[in-house]
C-alpha cells in the first residue's frame, strides 16, 4: 500500500487557500440528500456535527455519555492557542506553525500544521460569537497568557475551565441543530464496530447503553471523533469512559494506525496515593511558572519537607536546565521526575513523587498574590490530598495524558478506508511526537469547524445519486453478528478476575515498559507479558449481568479487550522506532548528557500500521515527511 498524504502542491502558506478552491462542492439543495454519521460529541465531534448540520447534511451523532455536553473535552483546563497576536509580542500564523512543528520534534506533516495555525484565528472568532466567556482585559478586549513554555502569549482561556466553556459552546451549537432537525443526537450509545463494504465505510453498529439494544446505522460517510487512548495505561488523566474502541475496530477493518507509541505523559499530576486509585488528576501546567521542583539530596529522606534545609535539596530541573529551569517542555520535565524517582530520591506514596514548592513564591509575592493566581488549583489539591499547599509543598508525579498517535489520515482527514474520516485526538495528524500545551483544543475545533466541512464535500460530491447501503444488507448483518458474539463471549467466560484488575495489570506493564522511557529489552518483555495477559483475559475474566441490560461491566470489558490489542501495537511501534524523539525516549538513543537523540536519516517518517489478523504481526507502512519550511534541528533547553 502506497500511503499518499494528498498534500496539495504550492508554498505551504498558500496550500489550504488554493486547495479549498479546488475541492469539489455539493450544492446546497443536494446536501440534504447525504447522510453523515459523527461518532463523538467532544470539541471535534460536536463542532463537526453542528457545522455539517448547518450546511444541510443529515447527521446522526453518537456519544457514550448521557449527554453530548459531557464529552471529555470538558475537562481541559489551561486554554486554547491562536495566532491572533493581540499582545503585539511577535506572534503570527508562521510562528505558531513553526513552534508546533518544532514542538512535535519534526514528526508531523508541515502542511497540516500550517493549516491548523491558519484557522486558529477563526476558531476564536467563532467561539466568541457563540458566547464563550473568555477572560477579558479591562478595556473589554480578550486576554491572553503564555502557556507551556511558549515565548509569546497566545493562549485564550476561561478561568481554569477553558475546555468546559468551549465544549459547552460546541454542544450548544449542536443542540441548535438537533432542535432544527438536521442532527439526530444519540446519547448513551456506543459504537462497537464499523461496517465496510466494497472498500468503503458504510455505517456503524451500536449498543444502546441504557438497555443493551443493538442497532445498525447506515450513511454516506462516517466520521470518528472519539478522542484519545491514554486509558490504555489504566491510570491517566482521561475520563474513565475514554476508550479506543471506535478507532480500534476501524483499524481492524482496514484503517491504518499511525504512531501509536507517541503518548504524552504530563508532568504535573497528583501522585497515586493507594492501590484502589481510579484515575489521576492533572494540576495545570501553569503551576510551574512559580513553583520550584525539588527532591531531597539523600535518597529515602523521610523528614517532612520543611525540615530539609536548602543545602540538602536538589532542584534538579534548575540544575540540569539552567536556561529553562522549571519551565522545560512537558516530556523533559516528566522524564526528569521519573529519573530522580528511579534513582531512589522520590517522596510520598511508593516514593513516586517530587515536590512542587511555592514557599519562595509566597515569600516573594505574598500569599494573596499566589492565591489570586492559583487559588482554585490549591483548593483542588487540598480536596484530593487533604494537605494544604500553602503550608507544605505539593507532591506531583507525571501521568499519561494525551495520545498523539491515532488513525492515519490524509490532508482531507480521511483514513485509509474511503469514506471514513477521523478528527480530533482520534487521528494522528498535527502534533508529531509531542503536543504543545493548549493545542489539542485548537486542533479539535479546527478539524470540526473549519476543515472537515470542506473536505468531506469533496468525497461526497461525486457520489450524488448513490444510495447508502440498507441496514438489512448482508454487510450489516455480518458485523452485527460478530459484535453480538463478542459480547456473548465476554459474558460467558465467567472466570475469576474482574475487568479492572486485569486492566490495572496491563496499565502497569505499559507504564513501566512503554511510558516515559523505553528500551528494547523492556519492550520485548512487555509484548510477551501483554500477550499472556490478553490470553488470561479471555480465559479468566468475569463479567456479570446480561447483554440486554444497562451493564457497565460489559461496557468496560469490551473497551479493555481492545486496549489489550492496542497496547501490543504501541509497544511494537516503540520497538521499531530506534531513535528518541519527542515523548518517545529510547534509552539506547540518547546523547552523553542524557538527552533525546533523534535520527532523521532513518526515521523521518510516520509509522502507519496495518492490521493483519489476530495474533499476526502487523505490517508497517511509511509516510516520509518533508521539512521544506522548518529545517529540522535538535531541541535544546539547556
Amino acid at each position: 500500500m502506497k500511503l499518499d498524504g494528498k498534500v496539495p502542491a504550492g508554498p505551504v502558506a498558500e496550500k489550504w487557500t488554493r486547495h479549498k478552491f479546488d475541492l469539489k462542492l455539493v450544492n446546497p439543495a443536494n446536501k440534504r440528500k447525504f447522510s453523515i454519521i459523527v461518532v463523538g460529541s467532544g470539541l471535534a465531534g460536536a463542532s463537526a456535527a453542528a457545522s455539517l448540520g448547518e450546511l444541510g447534511y443529515h447527521v446522526d451523532c453518537f456519544c457514550y455519555q448521557d449527554s453530548a455536553r459531557r464529552a471529555h473535552s470538558i475537562a481541559a483546563q489551561g486554554g486554547i492557542n491562536a495566532a491572533k497576536n493581540y499582545q503585539n509580542d511577535g506572534d503570527s500564523v508562521w510562528r505558531l506553525f513553526y513552534d508546533t512543528v518544532k514542538g512535535g520534534d519534526f514528526r508531523s506533516r508541515e502542511a497540516n500544521v500550517h493549516r491548523l495555525a491558519e484557522v486558529s484565528v477563526n476558531i476564536i472568532d467563532q467561539c466568541v460569537a457563540q458566547g464563550v466567556p473568555f477572560a477579558r482585559e479591562y478595556g473589554g478586549g480578550l486576554a491572553n497568557r503564555s502557556f507551556g513554555g511558549a515565548q509569546v502569549s497566545r493562549t485564550f482561556y476561561a478561568r481554569g475551565q477553558t475546555g468546559q466553556q468551549l465544549q459547552l459552546s460546541a454542544y450548544q451549537a449542536l443542540s441548535r441543530q438537533v432542535a432544527a432537525g438536521t442532527v439526530r443526537m444519540h446519547a448513551k450509545t456506543e459504537m462497537l464496530d464499523l461496517v465496510v463494504e466494497d472498500g468503503r465505510a458504510r455505517g456503524i453498529v451500536t449498543r444502546d447503553l441504557a438497555d443493551g439494544t443493538m442497532a445498525s446505522w447506515s450513511a454516506d460517510a462516517v466520521v470518528l471523533a472519539t478522542g484519545g487512548y491514554a486509558n490504555v495505561f489504566f491510570l491517566s488523566t482521561n475520563a474513565k469512559g475514554c476508550n479506543a474502541t471506535a478507532i480500534w475496530r476501524a483499524h481492524r477493518r482496514g484503517a491504518l494506525f499511525a504512531n501509536p507509541c507517541y503518548t504524552q505523559i504530563h508532568p504535573t499530576c497528583i501522585p497515586q496515593h493507594g492501590d484502589y486509585q481510579s484515575k489521576l488528576t492533572l494540576m495545570s501546567e501553569s503551576l510551574r511558572n512559580d513553583g520550584r521542583i525539588w527532591v531531597p539530596k539523600a535518597g529515602g529522606d523521610s523528614r517532612s519537607p520543611d525540615q530539609i534545609p536548602e543545602a540538602e535539596r536538589d532542584y534538579y530541573l534548575e540544575r540540569r536546565y539552567p536556561a529553562f529551569g522549571n519551565l522545560v517542555p512537558r516530556d523533559i520535565a516528566s522524564r526528569a521526575a521519573k529519573t530522580v524517582c528511579d534513582e531512589g530520591y522520590g517522596v510520598g506514596h511508593g516514593a513516586r513523587g517530587v515536590y512542587l514548592d511555592f514557599a519562595d513564591a509566597i515569600a516573594r509575592l505574598g500569599k494573596d498574590a499566589v492565591a489570586a493566581k492559583y487559588g482554585n488549583l490549591f483548593e483542588m489539591y487540598e480536596r484530593i490530598t487533604g494537605e494544604d499547599p500553602y503550608a507544605v509543598p505539593m507532591r506531583i508525579y507525571p501521568a499519561p495524558h494525551y495520545t498523539m498517535g491515532g488513525l492515519w489520515v490524509d490532508y482531507h482527514l480521511m483514513s485509509t478506508i474511503p469514506g471514513l474520516f477521523v478528527i480530533g485526538e482520534a487521528n494522528f495528524s498535527d502534533h508529531g511526537a509531542n503536543r504543545l500545551g493548549a493545542s489539542a483544543l485548537m486542533q479539535g475545533l479546527a478539524d470540526g469547524y473549519f476543515v472537515l466541512p470542506y473536505t468531506i464535500g469533496d468525497y461526497l460530491a461525486p457520489r450524488m445519486g448513490e444510495e447508502p447501503l440498507p441496514t438489512d444488507h448482508q454487510a450489516f448483518r455480518e458485523v452485527e453478528g460478530e459484535v453480538t458474539d463478542r459480547l456473548d463471549r465476554l459474558l460467558s467466560v465467567q472466570g475469576k478476575r474482574t475487568v479492572d484488575s486485569l486492566h490495572r495489570e496491563l496499565g502497569k506493564v505499559c507504564e513501566d515498559e512503554c511510558g516515559m522511557s523505553r528500551d528494547r529489552k523492556g519492550l520485548e518483555a512487555a509484548i510477551a507479558k501483554i500477550q499472556a495477559l490478553r490470553e488470561e483475559y479471555w480465559r479468566n475474566v468475569r463479567v456479570p449481568g446480561a447483554a440486554a441490560d444497562l451493564n457497565q461491566s460489559l461496557e468496560k470489558a469490551g473497551r479493555v479487550a481492545d486496549y489489550f490489542e492496542l497496547a501490543e501495537l504501541m509497544c511494537r511501534d516503540a520497538l521499531d522506532r530506534e531513535e528518541s524523539c519527542g515523548t518517545h525516549f529510547r534509552e539506547e538513543y540518547q546523547t552523553e548528557e542524557g538527552e533525546a537523540r533523534r535520527n532523521d536519516e532513518d526515521y523521518k517518517y510516520v509509522a502507519a500500521w496495518e492490521w493483519t489478523g489476530a495474533g499476526d504481526t502487523p505490517r508497517l507502512h511509511k509516510e516520509e515527511l518533508d521539512f521544506e519550511n522548518v529545517p529540522p534541528s535538535q531541541r535544546s533547553y539547556k
Binding site: E54, Q126, V128, Q130, R136, G139, A158, A239
Partner: protein, 245 residues
C-alpha cells in the same frame, strides 16, 4: 474506617427498588467516594453479584456525570463538591451512609443510581445557544465585553448540568440550571439579540418537565459550582420582559 452503606438497588425503570446494606471495614480516608464504591463493586463482582451502577466519567468535578444523594444531600456533605471529588475523610469511622439516586419526576431511574437527565438537553435545545453559523463570526475583538460582564457570564456558565439542583429541590424545579444558561448568554452582547425569545422558549420547555420554584434555595446550597440563585431572579426578569414585548 468502618462504614455501613445503605445503597438503593433497582434493576431497571420498571422495578420497584429497595435499599441493600453493605458493611465496609477497610475504607481508607484518602479514597474518593466513588473509589470506595469501586472497591465494593470489585468485591460484588468477585462474589458473583451485579455491581452497583452509577454514572461518572471525568472524576474531576466538571463533566456533571456523577451525582447521588448521600444521606439526603445531593453530592454529599461537602459544599461546592461533586460526588466524584468527595473524599472519605469527610466521614467518620462507624458512620452509616444512605446512597440514593437523584430523584425527580423528570429524571426516571434507569438502574440503581443511574437516572435519565435528558430533559436538560431539551431545555438547552429550546434556545440555550446563540444562533451563529460556523464561519459567519466577526473578528473577535470587534465585540468588546466589559470585564465585569464577562466575569458574571462566566459565574453562570460554570454550571456542570449535573442535576443536583433538581434533586434537592422539594418541588423538583430546574430553575437554577435554566437560569444559569439564560443569564450566561444575556450577560454578553453577543447573546442579547435573542435574549427574550430565548427566555420564553427555555422557560416553556423547563415548565413542561419540572416543578415550579418557591424559593427554597436548597439548589444553591448543594450546587457543586456554587451557582447563585440571583440568576433565577435574572431569569424571571428576562422572562417577564419577554412577555411585555
Amino acid at each position: 474506617m468502618r462504614l455501613k452503606l445503605h445503597i438503593w438497588r433497582q434493576k431497571n425503570a420498571n422495578d420497584g427498588g429497595s435499599f441493600a446494606t453493605y458493611a465496609r471495614d477497610d475504607v481508607s480516608p484518602d479514597m474518593s467516594f466513588l473509589e470506595m464504591l469501586d472497591v465494593l463493586n470489585e468485591e460484588l463482582i468477585e462474589s458473583g453479584e451485579e455491581p452497583v451502577a452509577f454514572d461518572h466519567d471525568c472524576r474531576e468535578g466538571i463533566c456533571g456525570s456523577c451525582g447521588v444523594m448521600i444521606n439526603g444531600s445531593a453530592h454529599g456533605p461537602e459544599s461546592g463538591t461533586a460526588t466524584c471529588q468527595l473524599h472519605m475523610r469527610k466521614f467518620r469511622d462507624g458512620d452509616e451512609i444512605r446512597v440514593e439516586p437523584f430523584r425527580s419526576r423528570a429524571f426516571p431511574i434507569l438502574k440503581d443510581l443511574v437516572v435519565d437527565r435528558s430533559p436538560f438537553d431539551e431545555i438547552i435545545g429550546a434556545g440555550g445557544y446563540i444562533s451563529v453559523n460556523t464561519g459567519s463570526a466577526p473578528e473577535a475583538n470587534l465585540i468588546p465585553v466589559p470585564r465585569d460582564d464577562a466575569e458574571r457570564a462566566m459565574d453562570a456558565a460554570e454550571c456542570i448540568g449535573c442535576g443536583a439542583c433538581v434533586a434537592q429541590c422539594p418541588n423538583g424545579a430546574a430553575q437554577l440550571f435554566t437560569s444559569a444558561k439564560i443569564s450566561h448568554l444575556a450577560e454578553l452582547p453577543q447573546g442579547r439579540p435573542e435574549r427574550f425569545a430565548r427566555a420564553t422558549k427555555m422557560v416553556e420547555v423547563m415548565e413542561s418537565y419540572f416543578g415550579s420554584c418557591t424559593n427554597f434555595a436548597e439548589c444553591e446550597a448543594v450546587c457543586p459550582k456554587g451557582i447563585s440563585i440571583d440568576f433565577i431572579a435574572q431569569m424571571n426578569r428576562e422572562y417577564l420582559r419577554s412577555r411585555f414585548k
